[in-house]
Amino acid sequence: MLAALTQLLVFQLAGEVIARGLDLPVPGPVLGMLFLFFALLMRGGPDNELRDTSQNLLQHLSLLFVPAGTGIMVHLHRVGDEWLPLLVALMLSTVATLVVTALAMRLCQGRKTGDAA
């Protein structure tokens, strides 16, 4: 577990350094994910330790959002004042995004299989 965790942190650090060094708008961890992905392609896959540690970490991914979510207590005032536009915008926009993404993918995929048939 220790070696795997170290690997993840090293890739995150590399991503962070390059994102800041080159002033890229992409966050360091996302860049780190890409680097690790390419490393896995070259290495022919993760070892068991890295696989298990990542699985453990990702299994409780939702836990990691709890501290930031609790920050709502700081914004209760603004949220209270503007709850209607916030709620409607969040709900409609989230549903619209789900539907539009899925439709765009299905359309693109459907046309391709249509061509093949």
Partner: protein, 238 residues
């Protein structure tokens, strides 16, 4: 409170131990409830854990800053967890490569929809400009969204909250929406939930299937990068 208890409280609230332990306890209670409900999306563990913590902190008069001094250790793990998403992505790589064009189409259409619809609806209903700008990056993962919000003139900490609300809404509603659309492909379901509802949607997708989860993780990464690059430009047009 008696003086002894008072002293104890002063000590506890000055160490990170309290915030950290409370976060883990609240989450485990929330996750237990979620399991008990048969993984009903309405019993979303993030939503329940946040509700427990806010109630607890406000009723004891504890500030968010004090809480976060401890909880930041959990928050920090978002970074390595994001890096770890490379592994499911690698496992599903063949399927991802086969779906290159649908992925590109879904990303472009979904990412723009997320930003434009949120800002326009909020403006139409009379939200203030900082609120509108804080809403714009709501569909991308917290660290990216906060960075983007700061750049375009939103309020980063408000954005963090809106991002999480979006994630919960997406995780709660996705199953019904996809079922109503008669959409069965776990790759498309996963990718769409990742574009709309970032890590919380991804967490939900992983609980349904590994393939859905991998596509959600891919979508989350791509949408984060895409939004970070495009949002400053798009907000100028709106």
């Amino acid at each position: 409170m008696t003086p002894r208890l008072n002293e104890l409280w002063v000590y506890l609230s000055a160490t990170p131990l309290l915030g950290l332990t409370l976060t883990l306890l609240a989450y485990q209670l929330a996750f237990w409830l979620y399991r008990r409900s048969g993984m009903n999306p309405l019993a979303n563990p993030v939503l329940i854990a946040v509700a427990i913590l806010v109630t607890l902190l406000m009723s004891t008069g504890t500030s968010y800053q004090t809480y976060f001094d401890g909880a930041q250790f959990v928050h920090f793990l978002l970074g390595p967890a994001t890096v770890a998403l490379a592994i499911p992505l690698y496992t599903q790589f063949r399927r991802v490569r086969a779906m290159f064009w649908p992925i590109l189409a879904g990303l472009a259409a979904g990412s723009l929809t997320a930003v434009v619809s949120a800002v326009l609806i909020a403006r139409w209903l009379g939200a203030s400009l900082p609120t509108q700008l804080s809403l714009a990056p709501k569909s991308v993962t917290t660290p990216i969204a906060m960075g983007v919000a700061e750049r375009i003139g939103g309020i980063p900490s408000l954005t963090a909250v809106l991002v999480i609300a979006t994630g919960v809404l997406g995780a709660v509603s996705a199953r019904w929406i996809f079922d109503a659309m008669r959409l069965r492909d776990p790759a498309i379901r996963g990718f769409s939930i990742g574009v709309a509802a970032h890590g919380i949607g991804t967490a939900r997708a992983f609980q349904v299937s590994e393939q859905s989860g991998a596509f959600a993780a891919l979508a989350m990464g791509l949408n984060g990068a895409f939004t970070a690059l495009l949002l400053p430009v798009v907000v100028g047009w709106l």
